[in-house]
């Protein structure tokens, strides 16, 4: 029902620590994966992407790891900052159709 969606998994970290957000995807044929960040009152914002023929990709302070064997995706944020507080969604795409996973709320404690 309505209450299920309100209970987002929450990850609470101390400022300066590294964060790891995990995601399980469903479609083994998906060829492209994306992490989005969504702050309150805003639309999802692109963070980093990875193609299915890769297992790791790094950006500025972020790294995405892809394990196709167990259909698992993770987002690592180095030196987490208060501005990183948001809901993070993984998404998979095949033939242009983007499917979002359930989000994780990241709370950064000062």
């Amino acid at each position: 029902g309505e209450s299920v969606g309100l209970h987002l998994p929450t990850l609470s970290v101390q400022e300066g620590d590294n964060s790891i957000i995990n995601c399980a995807y469903s479609n083994s044929a998906s060829d492209y994966f994306i992490w989005y960040k969504q702050e309150s009152g805003k639309g999802p914002q692109f963070i980093i992407d990875i193609r299915s023929n890769m297992d790791k990709r790094q950006g500025q302070r972020v790294t995405v790891l892809l394990n196709k064997t167990v259909k698992h995706l993770s987002l690592q944020i180095a030196a987490t900052q208060p501005g990183d507080s948001a809901v993070y969604f993984c998404a998979e795409t095949r033939y242009g159709a983007l499917t979002f996973g359930s989000g994780t709320r990241l709370q950064v404690q000062p």
């Binding site: 989005y36 805003k42 639309g43 242009g96 983007l98």
Partner: protein
């Protein structure tokens, strides 16, 4: 460069009333998407346009929802009549459209609809 623009940002209506949302995509983006986002959940695709053609509307509840993108640029999404369960955030996104499965989608801020 301006991002995806949506209006209105907020809309409160009574059930059974009609409502419309407007979206202007990033300049040069051929593909436009409408998503619905319920509280605490990820966005769900309603319809995807490539230029003015709706190429995926399989998740659009066609009995009450309609959409158009007449000139292949901006788009409107309409609900008539609105029901209580339509309360959600309606997101518009756009992408270049030149690489189907790896196009980055850029989202607008959304329209928060409340149906009373």
């Amino acid at each position: 460069e301006a991002g995806v623009v949506q209006s209105p940002r907020y809309k409160i209506i009574e059930k059974k009333q009609p409502v419309a949302f407007w979206c202007n995509p990033i300049s040069g983006h051929n593909t436009l998407y409408w998503y619905l986002q319920n509280l605490g959940q990820g966005p769900e695709l309603l319809i995807r346009y490539e230029n003015e053609e709706a190429v995926d509307d399989s998740q659009l509840p066609k009995d009450r929802f309609s959409a158009e993108r007449l000139k292949g640029v901006d788009s409107t999404l309409k609900i008539q009549p609105a029901e209580l369960g339509d309360s959600a955030v309606y997101l518009c996104a756009s992408s270049l459209g030149d690489r189907a499965s790896t196009d980055t989608q850029y989202f607008g801020p959304g329209t928060r609809l409340t149906v009373l």
